[in-house]
Amino acid sequence: MHKRLHMNPIWKKELVVGSRSMKMSWAIMGINAFLIIVVLIVLSITNMSAATSGYQYENLICLFPILGCIECGLVSLIVPIITSGSISGERERQTLDVMLTTPVTTLSIAVGKLGSAMSVVMMYMIASIPVMAIAFVLGGMSWWALLGLFGMLLYLGIYVGSVGIFCSSVVKKSVVSTILTIAIGVGIIIVTTVILYVVIATQSAMCDAKGVTYTGPGAVAFIMMLNPYSPIVDFMMRVMMGTGIDRLLEEMGTQSSIILAISRWWIPCSIVINMIISFAFLKLAARNISVTRNRK
């Protein structure tokens, strides 16, 4: 006998409640309007340059990284806003206690909240496909690139959403939670970049002092795998230039075949690492929601 699969009830409820709100329609309209403005600006620049060098539609391929970066930025901003009130909002509404008297686990609550946030964000992204498609129709981009971009946005949303849910379980105010989520995201980017920069600068200075050729940061470069945006950068590089971060490391002088081999798999490696971090954030959020913690 097979057991019927049940959709996470919190996820389902959030979708029902969210879909009845006008917020979603307004957000879709706002995002698409913004993307269209960007596309129109790029098209008008192409038009202006056509007067001197003729129409070069292949230049419209530059829409892909521009729109891709905008979409990444939107996900990085929208997801914290949606998830920041997920747990704190339940507390404010006084609905969390009743939820906790049911057999649903606190991890299920956190996952349900993340799932509903991701559904909303993916709805926004899917609604922007017609605008994004301009870069593909006019710029000759492959549909696999578009699919890959959505995969990247999904991954980024899960990462940022997990941080947002964790923050929502820690702080009481939704606004503080949003700011904290963005601060953690920016903090991770800054810390990883600064560490790598300091290592490269130090190693480079030491090599100069010794009079030897600098051969790259070595395994320290992998700290950038903790940066949630690094697989997206690698993906964009591969789509636009056909090479990824591995080529960068090679150009810096890296000779280690192991480091180069791993860096060729930058996207899956970084995504796996960041998904483990996401899961850890969700587990921590579940722990914070848990009633068995000694709170009044």
Partner: protein, 315 residues
């Protein structure tokens, strides 16, 4: 159905529950009474698995609520004193949401919800948005929600709190229906006359301890003889001020503990039985004190509560 043994809950240095012991039989409606901060809500939250106890045990139908908090959730339905609802969610969807939290199938939830909404008199509101319901309706809906998984024990924390008289009456009818269905209920309320009408047993809590517990009638009977006497004195043959003379005479009599005067009444805190009360009246006549009315308060849950808790903050 519910057995609590030596239940202790400590918040820092504050002892919220002090070795609480309680037993509720199946089908019983147990009323929890006590001043604010006595530990009623803390006890209820521990029973529902919402709070971790410092010590002791809570057994619901053979399941330890402290050691098996996940298992207890299928045994208990909880209506908190304060709760919120979701915007943009209809009554039937609200029931479906909570039913699905218990892993119930959609069809099963729909069938059970129909009956429960009828029980709480909300059948005609099943397509209404939860947020648009009145406070009383929301409260009744919350009771229906707590019954969705057919729990063995229903825990109601101040279900009448903040309701107008009409809504209170309707809630009382719901609780009477539940009583006739044989549900085991643990309920706390500020409205003591309603509790004494509904409950089979009551427990009075103070400072985290159960001061008294048992069948409503038995408790009231056991405390007979402690009720104060109300009296109105119209005249006394004395040169002294009337109040002073009456107080002096009363204080000389046995079983009189305290005498206090209101605008036109004398309140006598009297420990004797009815025969002694009659003798006291005779003594007043002997001292030429003329009384226009003289009656002894009837013992009820409210007076008993005030007596036990020393008239502290309301229940």
């Amino acid at each position: 159905m519910l057995t609590i043994e030596n239940l202790t809950k400590q918040y820092g240095k504050f002892l919220a529950l002090d070795h609480l012991n309680l037993h509720i039989d199946k089908g019983e409606i147990y009323g929890f009474v006590g001043p604010n901060g006595a530990g009623k809500t803390t006890t209820m939250r521990i029973v529902c698995g919402l709070l971790k106890a410092t010590g002791g045990s809570v057994i619901v139908d053979g399941i330890d609520a402290i050691r098996q908090p996940d298992d207890i959730k299928r045994k208990v339905g909880y209506v908190p004193d304060f709760f919120g609802v979701y915007d943009n969610l209809k009554v039937m969807e609200y029931m479906e949401f909570y039913g699905s939290m218990y892993g119930m199938e959609r069809r099963e939830i729909a069938d059970i919800s129909e009956g429960l909404l009828e029980l709480v008199n909300l059948s005609d509101k099943k397509d209404a948005f939860v947020d648009a319901l009145s406070r009383g309706m929301k409260q009744r809906l919350c009771v229906a929600r707590a019954l969705i998984h057919n729990p063995d024990l229903l825990v109601l924390d101040e279900p009448n709190s903040g309701l107008d008289p009409r809504a209170r009456f309707e809630m009382k009818e719901v609780l009477k229906n539940l009583r006739s269905m044989g549900k085991t209920i643990l309920i706390s309320s500020h409205i003591l006359p309603e509790l004494s009408e509904l409950c089979t047993s009551v427990g009075i809590m103070e400072h985290g301890r159960l001061v008294t517990s048992g069948k409503v009638d038995e408790i009231i009977d056991a405390s007979q003889g402690n009720q104060p006497i109300h009296m109105k004195v119209v005249y006394a043959e004395t040169e002294e001020p009337l109040d002073q003379y009456v107080a002096t005479v009363l204080k000389e009599q046995p079983f009189v503990e305290k005498v206090s005067f209101t605008d036109d009444e004398v309140l006598i805190h009297f420990r004797g039985d009815d025969l002694e009360a009659a003798r006291l009246l005779n003594k007043l006549f002997d001292h030429h004190i003329m009384v226009s009315h003289y009656y002894r308060e009837k013992e009820n849950l409210e007076s008993l509560f005030l007596e036990i808790t020393g008239g502290e903050e309301n229940a």
